[in-house]
């Protein structure tokens, strides 16, 4: 499950996660197709928290259970993602810092659609599992 068998280098990419986007709040608020079109969208956007879950799956695959001990994610939902679109969560290691609890990795993160357009972007950081940091 956890891919971080060794400490990654700055500039390296985590294993991406690809999904077919689901509208997990279909029919509610802006996630209703008619409502979204009335308010100027091309169709109902997938909830931001669903894009966040896809990105977080990638982070959980890397950091494992350490994610819930100081894992930090900051994500802006920059473009609408629509149901049925292929979406890929990606991350690049941008920095590392030794902390009392271990080595913290700082990441640039984003989710992109099949055209390569970013639909969400931001930063994340987490502590490496001890076996990877040693």
């Amino acid at each position: 499950m956890v891919e971080s068998a060794r400490e990654p280098e700055v500039g390296s990419e985590l294993n991406p996660v690809t999904k077919i986007a689901k509208n997990t709040a279909r029919g509610k608020g802006i996630h209703d197709d008619t409502t979204a079109r009335t308010l100027g969208f091309k169709g109902a956007p997938v909830p931001g928290v669903t894009s966040l879950a896809y990105v977080m799956e990638m982070l959980l695959n890397f950091f494992g259970e350490n994610w819930t001990n100081g894992g930090d994610i900051d994500l802006a939902f920059t473009r609408p993602l629509h149901e049925g679109q292929r979406v890929t969560a990606r991350a690049i290691v941008r920095d590392k810092k030794v902390e009392d609890d271990g080595l913290r990795l700082f990441l640039e993160i984003w989710a992109e659609n099949e055209e390569g357009t970013k639909v969400a972007e931001g930063t994340a950081s987490g502590l490496l599992p001890p076996t990877a940091a040693s």
């Binding site: 802006i30 969208f41 956007p45 909830p47 931001g48 669903t50 100081g70 900051d74």
Partner: protein, 163 residues
Amino acid sequence: MEELDPQQQLRLAEQLYASLQVEQEMGPWETVLTPEDVRAYAAAIDDENPWYLRDSVQGPMVCHPAMTAPFGIWLFQEWRSNILGDPVPPLVGVHAAAHHHYINPVPVGKRLIVHGKVVDKYIRRQRYYVVVEFWTVDEDGRDIVHSTDTFLLTPVRIPEKAD
């Protein structure tokens, strides 16, 4: 269902924006995530990690941490309804950004208590935004996650004033 009117949406957003005060607190709001909730969530986001399906030799079943991500939205919607009085159709907002800092695993079957506080409000690109901090603790008082969510009150733009 009453037809959605963008101008009515804008008026509701103006009313809510005017009512919001920085430092204003909201909540508490409570929930319990059951094993059925955890499995349903994992299925909804197509995450087949066995952690979310059952107890295993590695340890007890755990919640996907992203299950806490909508808590702030739900608390904010409840609080918003109290201010606007549940208009029909309701004000339709958009989740613009989220920041979550995880402190402890999200427990299955325990009461989770969420508090919120408005930390900023602003107009950008002719639209109303509000920023709310949320913090979630479990029934034992253990910190679970600290969050900050940015909400666009309505995607309808404020008309530009004529010179």
